[in-house]
Every structure is written in structure tokens, then in C-alpha cells.
């Protein structure tokens, strides 16, 4: 299909200044409305004319969605807070440095200035078959072009594939899962709060969506509890380039030590499945164990259980194993297998 780039199809633009006004617009226009945050994902879709919404609701003028505020013993981050603001916030730097590292790793400074944390966790997959506008499962069709004998699927899923093998490209998501964050969602019917790991939807449950956001709903903020504040953090991202690139695999872990043993840990990875994955088997296995190579090795082996590589992404299996090892060990040791 010929793709027309850089010339968006016409749409009606709305720029509300409150959440209520935005929700009213989304309710009025239903599935024909497109929510615009920083625009870094959206403008690809719109300029390529793959998505052609008749209405765009630009949230950039909604002040109540911006900023970082204290909330109980933690923080509440507005969904429209830019990644730069997250990275520079002193409490984030001091008590939630894993989120700072993840947000910093997400993109170049220019993109971080424009991109929002809400957009980063809610962005669509980067599978190029899907983004080229072909009628794959995720686009409502009946085939996954990335999971065929001739497909180029180096960046695709090794875990939990269900017809679609696309992966979630967010860097901040695993950090938020490790921090036990909660996502605050508002619709015309009220507010609901879901744990970060339940915010994402796999293809087995709904093949056309990445998150639990329903038509007419907005992610308004992200709450960070104090539970893991100041823990030992580990975040690492492996990408083809060190700037402006999506992760091949990333890992985020928050660890609380008791002497030289692991008291508790939360660990999550991304880039290996259609959703960021929390690894409860690893968390349970390392609890009460010494933070050493043996524990890290066992954790790495657990993390890759059930992995099914495609033709070109077999490298993700040892990559995932080694990143989990390093996160559990807490150091960037080099494992050769």
C-alpha cells in the first residue's frame, strides 16, 4: 500500500482545558475521537494516514493533568507530565530513581521534552507490519504478518504471543510495575484505579488494544506509593542504538535487602511480549536468598520459561535471561551464556 507521509487527513481539533471537558468530548464523539498527548505516537499514525479519526482531542491545554504532586507517602504524576519533568523532579531523582532512569532512557532530550509519561505507557506497538496499515489481527484482520515463515520479526515477542506477536515498546512501564504504581483512569462514569501490571492488555484478551482504556476514558495520573521508595533499583535497556530507540528488551527491579539477603523484590521486563511482564516467579524464587551469582542464574533461567522465539528473535532469550540475572544481582556483570 502506498503510504502518504507528512500530510495528515483532515480532522476536527478540540483543545479542552479541563478533564471534564475532555471526557465530555470523548463521550460525544465515541470511537471516532483520538486522544492526543505529546503526539509522538499519534502523529506517526496521522501523518501516515493509517489512522483517520474525524476528531482529535488535544490534552495539552489541560493543566490538571500536568505536574508531580505529593500523594500520601508517595507521588502522583499527572499523565500529561513530560518525561523531562519526570526525570528532573527532585523526589523522583531521590526516592524513585528507577523511574528517572527509565524515563531518561526512553528517548532523546527533544522527545522527552514533548513526550508525556501517560503517552509513554499508553503508546501503541511499533510492529511495522501493523503500522504499515495492513489488515493484521491487531488491525482487525485475520493474520499476523510478523509470524509467518518469511517474516522479519527480530523485534517481536518471545513470550505470551497469541496470534499477534507485537511487543510493548514502553521504557517507563516496567519501572512503574516495579514501583507498584497505580494508574488512575477517569471516564464519564467515574474513576477507577488499576495496578500498573493490570493496565496492559495482551492479544489473548483483546487483540486490538494495548491497555485497559476503553473508548471515552482517559489515563489521568499515575500514583507511586511509598512502598518501594528508596529501594535498591536496577534499570537496564538494550536497544540497537543508545539514543532514540525503542527497547529490544528492558528490565526494572526494585529490591529491599535484609543484611545480605533479598527481603523482597519486584521485577518487570518489557520488549518480550505484548505487555510489560511482571515476573512473580522470579520474585518468589529470590526472596530470602543471598544476592549472588547463583541466585541470579536461577532467576534468569526462570524468566525465560515458556519462551518461544520466532525466526529472527532467538537472541532475545539469552538477552532476557542475562538482563534478569543482572537485575537480581544488582550489577551489570557480563554473563557469556
Amino acid at each position: 500500500m502506498a503510504v502518504i507521509r507528512d500530510v495528515m487527513a483532515p480532522f476536527e481539533l478540540f483543545q479542552p482545558t479541563s478533564v471534564d471537558a475532555a471526557l465530555e468530548l470523548l463521550d460525544r464523539h465515541g470511537s471516532s475521537a483520538w486522544v492526543l498527548a505529546g503526539g509522538l505516537d499519534s502523529f506517526d499514525w496521522l501523518k501516515d494516514r493509517i489512522k483517520r479519526p474525524s476528531v482529535v482531542v488535544d490534552l495539552s491545554g489541560v493543566a490538571e493533568l500536568k505536574g508531580v504532586q505529593p500523594k500520601g507517602d508517595g507521588l502522583e504524576i499527572g499523565a500529561m507530565t513530560t518525561l523531562t519533568e519526570v526525570v528532573r523532579h527532585p523526589v523522583v531523582q531521590d526516592r524513585y530513581s528507577i523511574l528517572m532512569k527509565a524515563a531518561e532512557a526512553a528517548a532523546s532530550p527533544q522527545i522527552r521534552n514533548q513526550g508525556t509519561i501517560g503517552g509513554n505507557v499508553s503508546q501503541d506497538t511499533r510492529c511495522w507490519y501493523y503500522r504499515a496499515g495492513w489488515s493484521c489481527y491487531r488491525a482487525g484482520g485475520n493474520i499476523c504478518y510478523a509470524d509467518t515463515p518469511t517474516a522479519i520479526n527480530r523485534e517481536h515477542a518471545i513470550l505470551h504471543a497469541d496470534r499477534c506477536v507485537a511487543v510493548n515498546p514502553s521504557d517507563t512501564s516496567p519501572a512503574l510495575i516495579a514501583l507498584q504504581a497505580e494508574m488512575v483512569i477517569r471516564g464519564r462514569d467515574g474513576e477507577r484505579v488499576v495496578p500498573a501490571e493490570e493496565y496492559f492488555v495482551g492479544p489473548g484478551t483483546d487483540i486490538t488494544r494495548m491497555t485497559v482504556l476503553r473508548t471515552g476514558e482517559l489515563l489521568t495520573s499515575i500514583r507511586l506509593p511509598g512502598t518501594w521508595a528508596g529501594a535498591h533499583f536496577y534499570f537496564e535497556k538494550v536497544a540497537d542504538r543508545n539514543v532514540w530507540d525503542f527497547p529490544l528488551v528492558n528490565v526494572a527491579a526494585a529490591t529491599v535487602m535484609s543484611g545480605d539477603t533479598i527481603d523482597r523484590m519486584r521485577i518487570a521486563v518489557n520488549g518480550v511480549a505484548a505487555t510489560p511482564l511482571r515476573l512473580p516467579a522470579v520474585e518468589n524464587a529470590v526472596r530470602g536468598k543471598k544476592r549472588d551469582d547463583a541466585t541470579a542464574n536461577a532467576a534468569g533461567d526462570l524468566a525465560i520459561g515458556g519462551a518461544v522465539p520466532l525466526h529472527h528473535n532467538g537472541y532475545k532469550v539469552p538477552l532476557l535471561r542475562n538482563l534478569v540475572r543482572r537485575a537480581v544481582r544488582g550489577t551489570d556483570n557480563v554473563w557469556t551464556s
Partner: protein, 270 residues
Amino acid sequence: MDILTWGRTPWGEWMLTHISWDLLWAALFAGFAFLVAHASYMLLSAHRKRDAAETDRLEAARTDLPVRISRHSLAARLFHWVMAAAMFTLLFTAFLPIAGVKFAWVQWHWMAGLVLAASIVFHIIHATVWMDFWSIWVGPKDLPELKAELMRELGREADGPKPGKYPLGNRLYHLVIVLSALVVVTSGLFMMVRVRTPFFTRNPYLLDDAKWGLTYVAHGLAGVALVGLVIAHVYFAMRPEKWWITKSMLLGWITRRQYLEHHDPQRWVS
């Protein structure tokens, strides 16, 4: 309302992808509309019912028959209820997600599909070897019975034949369900080649895009048809005047009185 959905291949060609899910709502509407229409007709019409005295005379004349007449063997009943469980699982796993109830449905769906396919194979063998194979089918020979049934439904006395083992409605329903089930199972088995199962090596290129589109459309059309057919089946199974048939599918037998009241012993081949 759309009927079919279309997509574009990487080569820019239009292809069928599947049916429009608007058809699900149409099938549900049709099923419940039929239910309401039939129930209203049964309440208001003067369909002919054999009076008790007439049945008394019939029964008095045939005391040689056992009190309980076997209608469905244990194997036949087991098939029916296994198939029913598989069918309900298939319909719920297929259509609840479309109705907004989201869950991981694919694995449950194909597993239930395999149970349905296996039960159908069993049924074909069982019916061919151990049952009167032709007693369930309809054909031109049944036109007099159809005419008599219609007259009775209109409240008129009719001398036409009574059914053998299976009432005409049963046989017509069986014919439609056979066609729908064969389409849905055959297309479903092909579609299993596209998903990860322990049974097949995935091969999305087994068919070309056009044939895959037709396969998905056939599966969808048969699926929504089954929604309406199952609604009708459950409705009839629960109607008071049909409850004796439903009961026989649980217990395996009907009474001598029911046998003589509703069937022609000459046409009933066990």
C-alpha cells in the same frame, strides 16, 4: 449495518477478513424475535391437541407395549450433552469478547471445537452403525406429514401421517444444525492451523488470502447462525408441551402414552 469486513493485503489487494459483528446482534435479535413470535402464536392460536379420551383409547388398545419406551440410548444422550456443552463453550468464548466481556478465549475456543468435532465423528459412526440412519433426515416423502402438521397447527383435524421416532420439527432442525456445524467445524479446523496449538505446525500460508477470507467468513456466518439456532433449540426444549422430549434426552425413555399420542409406531424404527 455491515455484513462483511474487508482489508488490504501487503500487495494492495482487497480481501475479505471476516463477517461484520453486527450480524451477531442481528442473529440474537432474530432468535429472540422468533421466540416471542412463536410463544405469542402458541398462546393465541387454536392448534389441535389430541384429547385425553382419544389417547386413553389408543393406550387401552396397545397394552402389549412396555410402560416405558426407550427413545435415546445412553450413548446418544452422552453425545447430545457433550455436544451441547462444547457448543455453549464455543458460542460464549466466541461472542462474549465481542459483546465486551474480555478474557483469554482462544485456547478455550479451539479446545471446545475439538471436543465438538470429536463428538460429531462419534455421532456419525454411532448413527450409521447402531441407529436407523435415515430416520432423522427429511425429504420429499415427508411432504404429507408436513401438510398434516401445518393443518394441526392451524387447529384443523388432519388425517396425514404422524411422525416416526423424530417429529418433523426435530428433523428439520437437525438438517440445519448439521449444515451449520459442518461448516463451522471444517472452517474452524483450518483456522486452527493459524494459531499455536500442540497439534499443528502453524502455517498461515496454507491457503491464499482470498481462501482464508472465505474460510473466516464461512466460520463467522455459521457461528452467528448457530446463535439463533441454539436460542430456538433451548426455547423449544423448555416449552411445557415439549418438555417430555427434553426429559427423554435426560432419562432415555418416554411413556407408552406419549409414544402413542405423538408417534406412529409403524414408522418408528428403533
